[in-house]
Amino acid sequence: MIVPLAHFLILSLIIFCIGLYGALTRRNAVGILMSVELMLNAANINLVAFSRFVSPQSGTGQIFAVFVMALAAASVAVGLAIVICIYRNHRTIAADKIDLMKW
């Protein structure tokens, strides 16, 4: 392994920050979910990198990454179903237009 651990962490940091920015600023609800997926992917890279560098034989990080993947898939399934619901009732998927709960 010639690439140092820090570089994997920095890669994952950059992707996480991009995802966070997207999740905070995108108006399209589907876009927000995609940004969340980016963040989860970044977290997974972190987990696998630590697993390889810190405990290469037990593979704990890999197991957590598998669980994160399963939860990510479940969350995106439910999240998109909510978007469908909103789209049916409001004919929009702009997240800042959905403000019924504000008042």
Binding site: M69, A70, A73, A74, A77, I84
Partner: protein, 126 residues
């Protein structure tokens, strides 16, 4: 890994990806060199819809049933992610009864989901 060494093992995949790209781009480039390039009339570049004039935007709204199928698929695809490592160690695991029970519970819980979808008629095309 003898021969290629640790890093060389996966380089093979990279080389094959390059070959796939070579095949695609190679086909594009040869046909670009060989093919005739007449000026295209406007009518020829219409989308092909059996000679009829295109009506309305293509990107119409689709039915939600496609989404529901994809949803069931996602859940069962994630399930294979847990079944495969289990299947790999099933033969050699010392307590085979435990291994069997664990997977039986896991799959039964998912089958409940399948039965729910079945009951709610989302597996149908209507």
């Amino acid at each position: 890994m003898p021969g290629f060494g640790e890093a060389g093992y996966y380089s093979y995949i990279g080389i094959f990806i390059l070959f796939g790209l070579l095949m695609g781009f190679g086909a594009y480039i040869t046909s670009w060199i060989l093919r005739p390039k007449p000026t295209q009339s406007d009518l020829k570049l219409e989308p092909y819809e059996c000679g009829e004039q295109t009506q309305g935007p293509t990107w119409i709204q689709f039915n939600a049933r496609y989404y529901v199928w994809a949803l069931i698929f996602v859940i069962f695809d994630v399930e294979t992610l847990f079944v495969l490592p289990w299947a790999l160690v099933y033969k050699t695991f010392p307590d085979i009864g435990l291994a069997f029970t664990e997977m039986a519970i896991f799959l039964l819980i998912l089958v409940v989901g399948l039965l729910y979808a079945w009951k709610k008629d989302v597996l149908k095309w209507t």
